[in-house]
């Protein structure tokens, strides 16, 4: 429905509904996904539509139901396991890191785990230090997993299907701060490749490489930079593991400058990795040092002004890039 505005939440919901309709083996389970309608109302009314066998409320047992999701995937199902928020995922980290990520390898290729785990994450709703994590880097560290970050409405709507089609475990990071955000949904029913980063805006002067909540911020900054005569390219990494190095390299080779943006705190982050890859692959294409704008090194505080200050804002991106390009 091009031209019509749609929320990020509705995009996710449509994707889930579509998946449930498309494949009998798909079911969703998690805390409060059914009768409550989803902690963030993403799965509201799906219980009525699909019944309790396919919209399964679970007890508060992250290790238990994520592990059960792995078992169900081994048993031939295509589960979508919802971990309410990323902070609770640590209770299931053993299952994710020690089972989902390793079974294929430990079994010498015999047992793959076609599981999708969705979790809400990110900063921006004054939820304080235990509910505002940007833990993409934590999970992106683990070989055997595919880590997706949903930075746009397009991906919210179309990423789930290829994730379910993947033979291996996929973790999808969604962002609570974007749920109510309305955008036009591009009429791109064509399948999304979950192995590729995407250039969201082409430019020639600098590559802004980002993901998740950084994507719209970077696009906003790019618009402002254009007014100042700076033509910025915005690369949405989208797949944080395995990283799509080729798209990064191609962009930096074109613009000769890289500026990395993410909400996760700076140390040992996704941008740390991207920066290192740029050094390895693009050193002699660089006309300026790689620079980063990341989350502050602090547990996320509750007050709005401090919360805002803890993650990059579009105005900061604009200022930093202007400074970077201002030398003559």
């Amino acid at each position: 429905m091009p031209g019509q505005l749609i929320t990020y939440r509705e995009c996710i919901k449509q994707a889930i509904r579509e998946a449930l309709q498309a494949d009998e083996r798909v079911f969703i389970m998690g805390e409060d996904v059914g009768r409550y309608g989803g902690a963030f109302a993403v799965s509201k009314n799906l219980l009525q539509e699909f019944g309790p066998e396919r919209i399964m409320d679970t007890p508060l047992s992250e290790a238990g139901f994520v592990g059960a999701g792995i078992g169900a995937a081994l048993g031939g199902m295509r589960p979508i396991v919802e971990v309410m928020t990323v902070n609770f995922s640590l209770l299931a980290l053993d299952q994710i890191a020690n089972n989902a990520a390793t079974l294929l390898h430990m079994s010498g290729g015999q047992f793959n785990v076609p599981l999708v785990i969705r979790m809400s994450s990110g900063v921006g709703r004054q939820l304080a230090a235990q509910h505002s994590h940007s833990w993409e880097p934590l999970f992106a560290h683990l070989p055997g997993l595919r880590i997706l970050s949903v930075g746009t409405h397009e991906d919210a709507r179309y990423m789930l299907a290829p994730a379910l089609a993947d033979p291996d475990p996929v973790i999808i990071f969604e962002y609570t701060s974007m749920l109510n955000l309305e955008k036009e949904l591009p009429d791109s029913a064509e399948s999304i490749e979950i192995s590729k980063a995407k250039v969201r805006r082409a430019g020639k002067d600098i590559s802004i490489i980002t993901y998740g909540t950084g994507v719209y911020k970077a696009l906003e900054a790019a618009t402002e930079l254009a007014a100042a005569g700076i033509d910025a390219e915005v690369v949405d990494l989208r797949v944080l593991r395995p990283l799509d190095e080729e798209t990064i390299v191609a962009s930096v080779a074109k613009t000769n400058r890289a500026f990395l943006v993410e909400d996760a705190s700076r140390s040992v982050s996704v941008s740390s990795e991207v920066s290192a890859r740029i050094m390895e692959r693009c050193f002699y294409d660089l006309d300026a040092p790689v620079q980063r704008l990341c989350g502050a090194e602090v547990p996320i505080p509750y007050p709005k002004h401090l919360e805002d200050a803890s993650v990059p804002q579009p105005a900061q991106i604009v200022t930093a890039i202007k400074t970077l390009l201002q030398h003559a």
């Binding site: 007890p59 290790a63 169900a72 081994l74």
Partner: protein, 333 residues
């Protein structure tokens, strides 16, 4: 009268069946002893956990299962794999780290996997596989497949949160899982009384509303009976069952273990209840088998174990170029 009722779950005591059970226990025993030897020669590396003393449990439970059932084990799983039907050679090759091993050498002693026999490991995070077992049973239930999932774990796992979550989910969802606790009295080196406030383990299953039972794990016939009973109930009701087998490992926890935590006399005491002579003496008494039969079986087992080592010695190492294989599935075109 009671005996009559349980006729179908009692072990059939024909000559062939008896030979097979004895053969399986001896195979585990000799295979494990050979593994220890190959470990000291540095042919096998990593952790090596031996099952010597506990043979009656794997042999007694496994005979109750069907080929289509799922089996998940702990890292002390060579015996289970052997009884489930994995060839001694491919297990030995796996421990040698060779690509002919059942997990292409990627897993080693603690991670034996085999798709053909639905053998899902070889899981080395204590209690981590219980939740997976629940999920596998859930899939079977959703897909209306008439099969169950048998999940072995030690009493150490029962102190983990994952045990409680998995038991709760299984009971809540009413899925066909046989939770099989091999209580060998020690979580590594810490005795049961130091790890569980309630040492009557069966009660923990009851707390979740799961049918639970306990059996002497050193007595093969008792294990067979208990396992057959539990499995029949699960197949009938589709509900989980919790079976505790009290057993004892004669050897150290793993190879590098000075056994500071238990008395030699305790080990000697348990060895008097060794399940292998125990079962064989029973067969002698009942005049089902003779000493000659025993020698014959023993000779066959020794040959097979030797052949397993010979096979492993001929196996090849995977080329290092394939290092990152099996991290993600190969893309299917």
């Amino acid at each position: 009268m009671e005996q009559q009722e349980q006729q179908s779950i009692n072990p059939p005591l024909g000559n062939e069946q008896a030979k097979k059970l004895l053969y399986q226990m001896l195979l585990i025993r000799k295979f494990e002893e050979k593994s220890a030897e190959m470990y000291t020669q540095e042919k096998i590396r990593g952790f090596l956990h031996l099952y010597v003393g506990e043979e009656a449990v794997a042999v007694g439970v496994m005979q109750a299962l069907r080929p289509e059932d799922n089996v998940l084990c702990t890292y002390r799983e060579h015996g289970h794999a052997l009884v489930r039907g994995l060839k001694p050679g491919v297990i030995m090759a796996e421990m040698y780290g060779r690509q002919e091993g059942c997990s292409r050498g990627r897993g080693g002693s603690m991670h034996l996997f085999d798709a053909k026999t639905k053998f899902y490991g070889g899981n080395a995070i204590v209690a981590g596989h219980l939740a997976m077992a629940v999920g596998m049973a859930l899939a079977d239930k959703k897909m209306k497949r008439d099969q169950l999932t048998c999940c072995f774990f030690g009493e150490g796992a029962m102190a983990e949160g994952a045990f409680h979550e998995a038991m709760n989910l299984a009971a809540l969802w009413q899925v066909p899982v046989l939770f099989l606790c091999e209580n060998n009295l020690y979580a590594m080196g810490t005795a049961l009384r130091y790890t569980h406030a309630q040492t009557n383990l069966e009660l923990k299953g009851a707390a979740f509303g799961i049918d639970s039972s306990t059996v002497d794990g050193m007595d093969l016939l008792a294990v067979i009976k208990a396992a057959n009973t539990a499995v029949a109930a699960i197949r009938k009701t589709g509900k989980p069952h919790f079976l505790v087998c009290n057993t004892y490992r004669f050897r150290a926890h793993s190879m590098f273990d000075a056994e500071l935590y238990r008395d030699k006399s305790e080990v000697e005491e348990w060895k008097k209840r060794d399940p292998i002579p125990g079962y064989f003496n029973y067969l002698l008494q009942q005049q089902i088998l003779t000493d000659v039969d025993f020698k014959k079986i023993e000779g066959q087992v020794e040959l097979e174990v030797k052949q397993a080592v010979d096979f492993a010695e001929t196996c090849s190492l995977e080329p290092v170029e394939e290092l990152t294989k099996y991290t993600y599935s190969e893309k299917q075109d």
